[in-house]
């Protein structure tokens, strides 16, 4: 159950990857902003924002690689976009058109699951099923801190451990399940809990996509090498309310909200790469153009 020790070099992203990380984060942010705007206009019925989760999502998804099958919860918009779900497809279900706007097979990104933690058992079952068919798929399943309290999550961890399933559990611990703080949801951490079931795990901060990328790369190497599960718990900040229907000011201190905003992973990483000279004004302008076009397309499609 020991983690294969890979040196930093083996898992640290190269410069191209770093730019890719930032670009995906910026695009996700742009889509999220547009979605929230459209929701305010009544075009979307609801939107669970992923602002604050971008580093965790982009870092983990890029580390997992394009061959992995992703079983999301309902907030993994940055993962969805990175996997090739178009922004239009992503928003479709929140406008009330469909339960799933994309082709899950084409992008190997499954439909969102609204019933918390139910997808964790699907992910493990899928991994077992693929292995039985001689196709050792690598499966990534996303779950929130609150959802880990559901029996299904524990059952999925036990099943994955017993079957030694090739599943990467990514827990995005944003400190809240709607209004319930994560400290009141558990006494330890999900990473510790996983070890109790016999699943190797790591807990990492989720502000820096490179840290996440490195941790998830190591996890992926472990899963591929040992053909055994791994759980990465990523601490992130939830910048907005649980969804657009949630007024987080009711239960969350303005200090806490301000601190979370100040620790924005997107601006933080943008500043860092800019400071390191990895990206310049022209690069940002290109991404901005891309985002503007996306936003225009979304408005055209839905507004």
């Amino acid at each position: 159950m020991a983690v294969k020790s890979l040196s930093e070099n083996e898992t640290a992203p190269d410069d191209d990857t770093r730019r890719t990380l930032l670009r995906h984060m910026l695009v996700a942010r742009g889509v999220d902003e547009e979605a929230r705007r459209l929701q305010k206009q009544g075009v979307l019925d609801l939107w669970p924002s992923c602002e604050g989760h971008e580093a965790a999502q982009v870092g983990s998804a890029l580390a997992a690689g394009p061959a992995a099958t992703v079983v999301p919860s309902y907030r993994e918009h940055a993962v969805a976009l990175l996997r090739g779900v178009t922004p239009e497809e992503l928003l479709a279900q929140w406008t009330g058109r469909t339960f799933c706007g994309w082709d899950p097979h084409r992008v190997r990104f499954f439909p969102y699951t609204m019933v918390l933690a139910a997808q964790t058992l699907h992910a493990v079952g899928y991994a077992i099923g693929r292995r039985m068919q001689g196709l050792e798929d690598f499966v990534v399943v996303y779950v929130g801190d609150g959802a880990t309290s559901e029996g299904d999550m524990s059952e999925a961890m036990n099943l994955a451990a017993v079957e030694s399933a090739s599943v990467l559990f990514v827990v995005q611990n944003n400190g809240w399940a709607i209004s319930k703080p994560a400290e009141e949801q558990m006494r330890t951490s999900v990473a510790e809990r996983a070890r109790g079931f016999g699943i190797a795990s790591a807990a990492v901060p989720g502000r820096d996509p490179e840290t996440v990328f490195a941790a998830c790369s190591r996890a992926a190497a472990h899963i591929r090498g040992e053909r055994a599960p791994f759980l990465v718990e990523i601490r992130v900040g939830r910048i907005n309310g649980h969804t657009t229907a949630d007024a987080q000011e009711v239960y969350r201190s303005s200090d806490d909200i301000a601190r979370t905003k100040a620790a924005d992973p997107v601006t933080g990483y943008a500043d860092r790469l800019r400071g390191q000279g990895l990206v310049d004004a022209a690069w940002f302008a290109a991404v901005e153009t891309e985002v503007r076009e996306i936003r225009e397309r979304l408005t055209k499609e839905y507004a």
Binding site: M114, S179, K180, A245
Partner: protein, 327 residues
């Protein structure tokens, strides 16, 4: 079309009733996801944590089996837990604890304890909710021995039902229609009180046809009835409880009108309407001037928001059905 009356809305009545009950009975405790700090995703419990403390208005772990399972233990310990499930569609993880445990505790203890345990469940659609947020699952528990199921359609009824439920000595599931929580005006109803806390209520007197219904759609039924008057004079029975069902009130009404239409928002098959229609077909056969009919969505999943209008039973469908039956 029809006049409406303004009254305290469902959420307010429930909030007041819960506050009263917490005040009167130290054994009462509320358990649910986000019911404390946030006051519930529908704000039904707002202010209660501040007033009664986090111990009695408990922000539950995010696990429905835990909510009901611990409530069973608490009830055994002498408390009266009033649980909230956040949306009807998330009831399922709690079904095992409700059906195989809560419903059977009294019998398993040979009547030595009779724990009261209430589960409040926001229900039904009509607000473009995302997947699983629009369910109407009252029939699920209505068939389970040992569980009572209430479906109030007004704040006044919800109040009476809650006060009755916390003292019943066996589990009660209360389905609260989401779209009524904050609705302030609704079609006028006859002032006749229910004969007992579990009785149905004749909310409109009429002579030509009885509509038996419950929950949010009672408003649409009343609106249709008003629209049809005076050509067709519809009597409307709001069942208020679907387990036990007050068949006496329904049969008496059918005895007067000779016709019965059952309307509900849950899908038709093996639903509450089936039970009522079957009972009336058997016990009210001689009074019937024509076949009992049911108006309810077909057996299919509640669709995405854009399609919910096609799915739901509206005032027009009710009117049309009554006209077909009385023509």
């Amino acid at each position: 079309m029809t006049g409406t009356v303004r009254s305290p809305c469902l959420a307010e009545s429930i909030n007041t009733a819960l506050a009263d009950l917490l005040d009167q009975d130290p054994r009462l405790v509320l358990i649910g996801e986000d019911i404390g700090r946030l006051g519930g995703v529908f704000r039904v419990t707002r202010g209660l944590r501040e007033r009664f403390g986090a111990d009695r208005v408990r922000d539950a772990l995010l696990a429905e089996s835990t909510i009901v399972g611990q409530a069973v233990g608490m009830a055994m310990s002498g408390l009266v837990p009033v649980c909230e499930i956040q949306f009807d569609g998330f009831t399922y993880p709690a079904v095992n604890q409700l059906v195989t445990q809560a419903a059977r505790v009294g019998g398993r203890w040979n009547g030595r304890i009779s724990p009261s345990l209430v589960v409040r469940i926001p229900t039904a659609g009509g607000f473009r909710g995302v997947e699983h947020h629009n369910d109407s699952n009252e029939a699920l528990f209505a068939r389970v021995p040992g569980i009572s199921v209430a479906c109030p359609s007004t704040g006044e009824d919800a109040d009476q039902i809650l006060r009755y439920a916390v003292a019943l000595g066996s589990p009660v599931v209360v389905y609260e229609p989401i779209r009524l929580y904050w609705r302030r005006s609704s079609p006028p109803r006859s002032a006749e009180p229910a004969r007992s806390p579990t009785a149905a209520r004749v909310v409109r007197r009429g002579t030509d046809l009885t509509v038996a219904t419950y929950g949010a759609i009672t408003d649409e039924v009343l609106e249709a009835a008003h629209d049809l008057a005076p050509d067709v004079d519809v009597e409307v029975v709001d069942l208020r409880w679907v387990a036990p069902l007050d068949m006496d009130t329904v049969l008496e009404s059918v005895g007067r009108t000779g016709r019965l239409l059952v309307v509900h928002e849950a899908t038709k098959d093996v639903g509450i309407g089936a039970e009522i229609a079957a009972s009336v077909a058997e016990y009210g056969h001689d009074a019937l001037r024509g076949p009992v009919r049911r108006l309810a969505p077909d057996r299919r999943a509640y669709p995405p928001g854009d399609f919910e209008k096609d799915y739901m039973i509206g005032v027009r469908e009710i009117r049309d059905e009554v006209l077909v039956m009385t023509k």
